[in-house]
Symmetry: C2
């Protein structure tokens, strides 16, 4: 097939950088790439496949002849530029929260609901990082034994907030180790050697928006509007890799060995589960990898149909950039770039 023209919006951000790495690593079938960012970052130079490219300021005209636009520059930028990109003929895969819950916008994790991609009208939404690893690990079990309820508690890395947060954790850690005081800028309180049960804004029901995303997005992706879900989302002093402690209630009892067998064959999942040798997923080792790692799979003694699991993934890769690129790959592989023209 002919190579495509790709645009990356938010190219200088943590996820944008990861977009470029992943497009290179997976040898994405593109002829050319436009690197777009805010005016503040315009003029910066980045290497893509050993070629130096200049980052341009995102503008309404940026999407001429672009086939696929990968967005990760925040909800506001997406809300403004995604429709313009779609009008210009590009298919947008958007990593922001802007369109995720819009009925007509597919919200996709390729291992779970690839068929939804076909329904796009020019914009496809990439889910929130914590949701992606959750549904990759749970959907294979849900298909065998429908899930009734999920209680998810997270340990989320600062890279989910962006590069300023990575810098804040670095600086504050040094300051604490040197006995100095810290002053928070990115987070409301010190994050070094601390944990903060606040990610994104608080809603009227006293859940945070991050927690509520896990509720709503999980139901939409899994086509399971009736699953009861509660989440507590917590920022921890980790650079890369989100971890989740899950208590799952199934329709029927779920033997841990069955769950392990199903997950061992599930796409995108790697089971790391041997307590005897302290083998379980950890964010430090998951960083830079593509799988959703699952371990500590065992019966929940507090519920007859309960199972406990520990799920870890690289929040910048599977939790963001990789999943977005995988959606773009499906678009190409299944010839769904222009679904209106399908069958021609």
């Amino acid at each position: 097939m002919k190579g495509l023209k790709v645009a990356v919006v938010g190219a200088t951000g943590l996820v944008g950088q990861e977009f470029i790495k992943i497009l290179e690593q997976r040898d994405f079938p593109m002829n050319s790439i436009e690197l777009l960012a805010s005016d503040r970052s315009a003029g910066k130079k980045l290497f893509v496949n050993h070629r130096e490219l200049v980052v341009k300021e995102t503008a309404p005209a940026s999407f001429k002849d672009v086939d696929i636009a990968l967005f990760s520059a925040g909800a506001e930028i997406s809300r403004y530029f995604s429709p313009l990109a779609a009008q210009a003929g590009a298919v947008v895969v958007d990593n922001s929260s802007a369109f995720r819950m819009e009925t007509k916008v597919p919200l996709v994790v390729p291992e779970v609901n690839p068929e939804d991609i076909k329904l796009h009208k020019g914009i496809i939404a990439n889910p929130n990082c914590s949701t992606i690893q959750l549904v990759v690990a749970l959907n294979p079990l849900h298909k065998v034994n429908p899930i009734k309820r999920i209680v998810a508690v997270t340990y989320q890395a600062v890279s989910g907030t962006g590069s300023a947060a990575v810098e804040e954790l670095t600086e504050q850690s040094k300051q604490v180790l040197e006995g100095q005081n810290t002053v928070p800028h990115v987070y409301p309180h010190q994050i070094a050697f601390n944990v903060l049960p606040e990610i994104d804004v608080f809603l009227d029901n006293d859940y945070t928006k991050e927690e509520w995303k896990m509720v709503e997005e999980t139901r939409k992706i899994m086509h399971a509007p009736d699953i009861a879900i509660s989440a507590v989302c917590v920022r921890v002093p980790v650079f890369i890799g989100h971890s989740e402690a899950l208590h799952i209630e199934f329709s029927q009892p779920m033997a841990p060995d069955d769950a392990k067998r199903i997950l061992a064959q599930a796409p995108g999942v790697k089971v790391l589960d041997d307590p005897g040798i302290s083998l379980y997923p950890q964010p430090w080792s998951a960083a830079g990898t593509d799988d959703v790692f699952v371990g500590r799979i065992h019966r929940d003694v507090s519920h007859p149909n309960g199972l406990v699991m520990w799920v870890v993934a690289d929040n910048l890769r599977k939790g963001a950039a990789l999943n977005t690129v995988q959606i773009a790959e499906e678009l190409i592989k299944r010839d769904w770039l222009h679904p209106g023209e399908a069958g021609k």
Copy 2:
């Protein structure tokens, strides 16, 4: 009343040091104090109430004339020396796991089950850190609306492991910040900028012993053998302060405002709950304080009788040394040092 003779076993450890601080701060009614430790630490000098004292090696004869012996030197030391101390006439308050689940040994959190102290036969057990803060926060609610099920997920500080772990987190953090490799000694994997879902050994049911302590000790302290409990215990790169995300299922619906009102009046509890100004408990701010802090109290949308809470306490103080000293204070206040002689 006459001053008492107190012995501290494990005086040079993190909890031992905290014992001394708390005895001083609370002006504990003691005439003299024996500082005991392993032969490795014998000869060290420590200050108590501005007097320099020499640490002695713990020996069978160490407990002559001792009225109260506070133990925090590990289960093995407790198993050997506690019965000897009790035989010598001391009342032992033991912070190890050695006797906690023995039927005839009271397991006590003074805010919850002070009356159990009276049943002692010379040894009283202090619960595990994660359990203490859990029951202080939950028992006041349980008395009003019996709890059916607890799902607890923890964020536990390295000081719970001891001073070598504090050093390991410090050293590894420096190494990571300087781009060096780390080598784990205390934990099976790197703890700096990482999280580890393994605390204490794994049991046959694939829970860890730490997780199982929360199940069994909570039931014993609250006299509630039927509460269903599951816990996931996770070590995080925090120096002091354990945090817990709790999903609680009550017998009847529990309005968050009622829970807040009850907890605001509960002994040993401080409610910090104002999401609008990012007010919630954090381990960094809880370190060095005595209360069990509770926040993020809200309805659990996934269960009709569910409530979500976030509970933080200083694991060395309320989670260990303070609770032990509080038990000793009750012994004195209620004249239960020698319960057989009560009424004389």
